[in-house]
Symmetry: C2
Subunit: 395 residues, 2 copies
């Protein structure tokens, strides 16, 4: 569930909130403070993972929230929130990764990475381990896990030391996990296949007519899903508004792909570093339409259309050639391949993005967050640019 900071005008949000009163309600309230936060919390929302500064997190804890410290592949808040990961506050904390790609999990780790990084930077082991276990379980009302205790579920990781947090042995529901046990696990049949139903796209679809004055540009910051609303006077090319490579401003588009309405919205984005080609994705929170950024409209069209061919995923195109891709046929979001294979493919895919000039450490997930219109400040949906602060479409 994503609830924007301002919910009082939205009947769907209100109905959702009513339905979950008495239960657990997780929210998203990036940058929300003061009276706005008070109003938000009055709706009964008790957890969230959008705090990006220690001051913001502390205010939320004081006002009754359980703060989930997030370290994903794009949104990295661990360093900023380390000052509040103390023994005193740890009952009011938990850890999460949110969007963390398999490559980072393979190279750095998951919660284990957060734990050892925090300890390296001086966080007390008790504080970070408590946040990672019993505090998280309690926050979500899970009464049978989070401690090693009689009668509790024995999901256990045996680690080599508190500091390095390297898993040596894993127990699941009391059974030691061996290669044989893992191989014998019950597989779940894939769902959401054939989910990409976008119409064929061509270069002309990405045209933006010349307009008076400055254009709104989505400003991307490495490692942040919060974007800036920037304004630039962009060059014209005939009757079209052109990109501005000198200022790292390229095109971005969101294309409806669920077969609902064929919407297509264009805009400009700054900060990807691309000098050529295009990158497209069917992972685009939370509507998961096609999102594509690029320097060249033909390459953007090819990238978008290729996503229809492979039933979703990530695609990198350079000069009319697909130079990297990964298919994510489960709802356009998940792979059918084993983890090791996904990890290797993502590694090649990242290299392909770098070959276009991409300067972001995580270009694909930063792309995936451009369409999320509940995170400040400027986003793009299939209906157009969204000013998240005003909570309205601006074209």
């Amino acid at each position: 569930m994503n609830f924007p900071g301002v919910v009082h005008k939205d009947p769907i949000c209100m109905a959702k909130l009513e339905a979950f009163q008495g239960g657990h309600i997780d929210g998203h309230a990036p940058l929300l403070r003061g009276n706005d936060l008070n109003g938000y919390l009055s709706a009964g929302i008790r957890t969230e993972h959008e705090s990006t500064t220690a001051e913001e997190a502390l205010e939320k804890i004081r006002k009754g929230m359980q703060v989930l410290v997030r370290e994903g592949s794009v949104s990295k808040d661990l360093y900023a929130l380390m000052p509040i990961i103390t023994e005193r506050l740890s009952p009011h904390l938990a850890l999460c990764t949110d969007d963390r790609n398999p490559l980072d999990i393979a190279e750095q780790g998951h919660l284990d990475y957060m734990i050892r990084t925090a300890i390296t930077h001086g966080v007390e082991p008790l504080a970070i381990y408590r946040a990672a276990s019993i505090s998280a379980a309690r926050a979500f009302g899970l009464r049978d896990r989070g401690l090693v205790a009689p009668g509790w579920r024995a999901d256990l990781v045996v680690i080599d030391s508190l500091e390095s947090c390297k898993a040596e042995t894993v127990f699941s529901a009391g059974r030691r996990v061996t290669a044989e046990l893992f191989a014998s696990r019950k597989l779940i049949a894939p769902v959401g296949l054939d989910s990409v139903k976008a119409r064929p796209i061509n270069a002309a679809d990405f045209g933006v007519p010349v307009s008076e004055g400055e254009s709104s540009v989505i400003g991307v910051t490495p490692g942040k899903i919060i974007t800036e609303h920037r304004r630039y006077r962009l060059p014209a090319k005939g009757n079209q508004t052109d990109i501005d490579l000198g200022n790292d401003i390229i095109k971005v588009a969101v294309i409806e792909r669920h077969g609902k309405n064929g919407n297509h919205a264009n805009g400009f984005v700054q900060g990807f570093g691309l000098k050529k080609g295009a990158i497209a994705s069917t992972v685009g929170h939370d509507s998961h339409n096609i999102c594509v950024v690029g320097v060249d409209e033909d390459d953007m069209a090819l990238a978008a259309n290729r996503l229809s061919d492979i039933n979703g995923g990530f695609v990198v195109v350079e000069n009319g050639v697909v130079i990297g891709e990964i298919a994510l046929p489960i709802a356009g979001l998940m792979s059918l391949e084993p983890y090791e294979s996904v990890r290797d493919t993502l590694h090649h895919l990242r290299q392909a993005a770098y070959a276009l000039g991409a300067t972001l450490g995580e270009p694909f997930l930063q792309l995936a967050f451009l369409p999320l219109p509940v995170i400040p400040h400027l986003k793009i949906s299939d209906k157009g640019l969204v000013d998240v602060d005003k909570f309205m479409l601006i074209g």
Copy 2:
């Protein structure tokens, strides 16, 4: 709900435990440690207030329990448990009073007394206040209280200082409680009137035939509901076993008073200090039969019968005269009078017990715990003496 330490043989306990799986289950596990405690916790019991030493409480916390630190009128565990009331452990603690009489509440206070006493003895204010508020709320799944926070229920006590914890103002559900607001509260109609249905008792009912060897004697310790199983060779008086005032051993009896079966059981108790007369009560956990202790069988009979006349309460008799009593006509447990009146009557009642020689600080509540057959070690029910360790009737 009272669950004895050993539950596996009792189908009613098992059915209760099954019915509450997934919900909150409170238990009573005095002195339970090690593997016995492990087995007990495996039934899903997560809170209890019977820890009487810091070591016992710490073991229970380590094994996943929320320990409720109790300071009642008889069971006083606050001092023993102070070493574990720390900032680190406070998320796993709560405070409670259990049986605390109105006189103690008037003279000393309730949780406020526990808080200021703990702080006086060096407990960190954060630790004790956290245990008294948010930790307790979380332990019982109350998601809207325990903090001063937006959207939470505003049941607030404004205190003069952290150290003295004296209530200056009270808010209930956001409304400042004035004398007018209190007077306008909705009263609840009394229930359980006319609950005392014991048959008339006479002195001969308290006879105990002479037996071979030693007699079991319930050993009472001031301020403890746990009793000792003591054995004495008691004097004979004709064909009857007599009391032994030199060793402070007098008679105790439990009389069924709900009109079910007319059971009557006799035994001996050591530690009340009575030199004459009798004390009787309809407060007798958890069956709340009549419990009477005394030196003189006629006085015991009069005290028991007087309870039928006043529909329950406490009675003190000396030489054939009722010298003190309080009526508790709501189920034999609660008064219909205002708090101030109950407080004053209890004060007189206590003086009457002292006039008989009573040496216990709280003779009436110590009496009330003699019939509780889930608390070690020797108790008495309407069926006879109970060896709680063996969980069996011994006569």
